[in-house]
């Protein structure tokens, strides 16, 4: 069943198309290059995993798409939602878009909610504002939405304030709120990072259920390779503001071809394998985004680096129908036997 659904997805046109996106911040110490020349697609109904460490540009990419960059940030390039250009669109257009066609969920639901307003007020506002519903109709709709994310006793919960909810419940409220306007695209930035593992499992199952039921495309931004493996159809690995490898999820975990992907996957302690005496590491430090080296940004930490890597940025090359990689190294990776 799954495979037929997948094929249908692959032939569908892109829902969101990012072309040559660059994001810069001007700071007192000069410019910081957060995203560099990024090309990316989100297809209808797919879950796209966006993996990277701090400073990889995984979050700034989507803040730029939504027009939510910090004041000193500046985005260039093109972002088309259903063919319509939305990058740097007027704020009225973006406000309408964010409430209607694109939903967002952030890491810490407490900071994304107003502590002085009841949950009901914050949720109904969305429908009154974007859909012009009456208060009563909006409330009825919110009760349905909370029930859909498995919150019991929804009518009473609407009268409660955010602090009266546990972290997992608040994240459910956030998801319910984001889905009120039935968006085509849901952007989730580290949606489970602040939650306990047991609650994380519940939220991931909920996201999976929602995408099956509504066909909502989901962008899952996370540093956690375990989380991506649960949910994503395709995965983009980011480093220093660049896409270094993109592949269908099974290819990425089973037949990765970028040294950074290899390093990430090998340095995660995992419960499904025998315990190694020593964890594999990626030597060195995270990249300095104030520098824009002429070559591959990962080269200083890369075990396979050759002289060309410091001089020339490797282009993003297709290795297969669903597999892109930006790397000069042509040989086999050390862990390939295991990875294959």
């Amino acid at each position: 069943m799954r495979s037929t659904r997948r094929t249908a997805e692959l032939t569908a046109a892109a829902l969101l198309e990012i072309r040559a996106l660059s994001v810069q911040f001007s700071t007192g110490d000069g410019p910081v290059y957060a995203v560099n020349d990024l090309d990316l697609q989100v297809r209808r109904g797919e879950v796209l995993g966006m993996v990277g460490e701090s400073g990889s540009g995984k979050s700034q990419t989507w803040l730029a798409v939504l027009g939510l960059l910090a004041k000193n940030g500046h985005a260039e390039g093109s972002v088309r939602l259903d063919g319509e250009e939305i990058l740097n669109a007027p704020s009225r257009t973006l406000t309408r878009l964010r409430g209607n066609r694109v939903g967002m969920i952030f890491q810490d639901p407490m900071t994304a909610m107003n502590p002085f307003l009841t949950v009901g007020r914050q949720m109904t506002e969305v429908l009154q504002w974007h859909r012009g519903l009456s208060r009563r109709a909006a409330e009825a709709r919110c009760i349905e939405a909370l029930t859909a994310v498995h919150i019991t006793d929804a009518a009473r919960r609407l009268q409660m304030y955010p602090h009266e909810f546990s972290g997992g419940m608040r994240q459910r409220v956030m998801i319910a709120t984001a889905l009120l306007t039935e968006p085509q695209l849901l952007i989730c930035d580290e949606p489970t990072t602040a939650l306990d593992v047991t609650v994380q499992a519940q939220i991931l199952a909920l996201l999976d259920e929602l995408r099956q039921r509504h066909g909502t495309a989901i962008v899952l931004i996370t540093h956690d390779l375990g989380v991506v493996a649960q949910l994503a159809d395709r995965v983009v690995v980011m480093y220093a503001g660049r896409q270094v490898e993109t592949a269908e999820v099974h290819t990425l975990y089973g037949a990765y071809r970028h040294p950074y992907t290899e390093g990430l996957l090998r340095s995660v302690p995992r419960l499904d394998e025998a315990r190694a005496e020593r964890l594999a590491t990626i030597p060195g430090r995270p990249p300095d985004l104030a520098q824009r080296p002429p070559g591959c940004p990962f080269a200083p930490r890369c075990a396979y680096a050759a002289p060309i890597c410091a001089q020339q940025m490797p282009p993003l090359v297709a290795l297969g129908p669903e597999h892109l990689r930006a790397c000069h190294y042509g040989g086999a990776l050390k862990s390939e036997a295991r990875g294959a």
């Binding site: 460490e53 701090s54 498995h150 546990s166 972290g167 997992g168 419940m169 306990d196 593992v197 047991t198 609650v199 994380q200 499992a201 519940q202 991931l204 199952a205 540093h223 956690d224 390779l225 375990g226 989380v227 991506v228 493996a229 649960q230 994503a232 999820v249 099974h250 975990y253 089973g254 390093g263 990430l264 996957l265 340095s267 995660v268 302690p269 995992r270 419960l271 499904d272 315990r275 190694a276 020593r278 964890l279 594999a280 590491t281 990626i282 030597p283 430090r285 995270p286 930490r301």
Partner: protein, 331 residues
Amino acid sequence: MSATALLEVRDLAVHFPVRGRGWLPVHRTLRAVDEVSFAVRPGEVLGVVGESGCGKSTLLRAILRLIPVTAGSVRLSGVELTTLEKAALRPLRRRMQIVFQDPLASLDPRMTVGEIIAEPLTALLPGLARAERRQRVERALQQVGLLPAQINRYPHEFSGGQAQRIGIARALVVEPQLLICDEPVSALDVSIKSQIINLLLDLRAEQNLTYIFVAHDLATVRHIADRVMVLYLGRVMEITDRDALYAHPLHPYTRLLLAAVPIPDPVRARTHRAPPGRDELPSPLALPSGCVFRTRCPLATARCAAERPALRVIDGRAVACHHADAAAGQP
């Protein structure tokens, strides 16, 4: 075991009074830590795991005497800490140090790295000569893989991983026996996290250190700990040697935690997905009767509501569950 333990905690309780509000205020008690007993042997790493609200942080603070203890005993090499006067406690503080979760937030931004690392020396070994102090600071820097030349830099010039190295150097500079690590790698990136874990393992081997390593990430704890203690709502559910715990957990809560850890393998993730529970943690102000875990437990029976299971030894492992005998009997 108690004769050789470096740290021994017995029946430790930390309760906080919670004042009621309104006309007829009901004063209640929050039992953050209750009847917790365990020992840490010299040279071992004891991992402590549990969800938020399980009492991990309260337990650490109580051991370090940063908060008052309601009942019970904490002994470091046989010396009772809970009743010691402040002045008598000071020489013992040198023997146990703490590393915090958020490395940048736990370093004073106005102090240089050298001043930060020297601070515990000034506080705990005030008699030390200046040259000796400097020497110790430089040694601590080297031990954690930083350069002595970085001694005059400020915290903001360092990345998260390097800042955590500074935090570790600050703890090590007084040459403690016991290092209490409170989520030391949780805020770090994947590629940096493994560097710090390896550093902690190296330091332990070189200096015969003992760790209490608190984390919510069970995969990381498996990597560093020799034994693991599982806490839930302030109580010990299970304390077991690492390999036994991960291979065959006896407590249903340990099983629930392990099943929830996402595995970075899409094939396994999609075929072995455990149905997640839909239940919520009970309020710590209104704990369930009997076993505190029973409201989320798939095995709960009438006995679990009536009778609180004691921590007892089964197959050489300590478990607080009425059903642990049956679990131990299974392959």
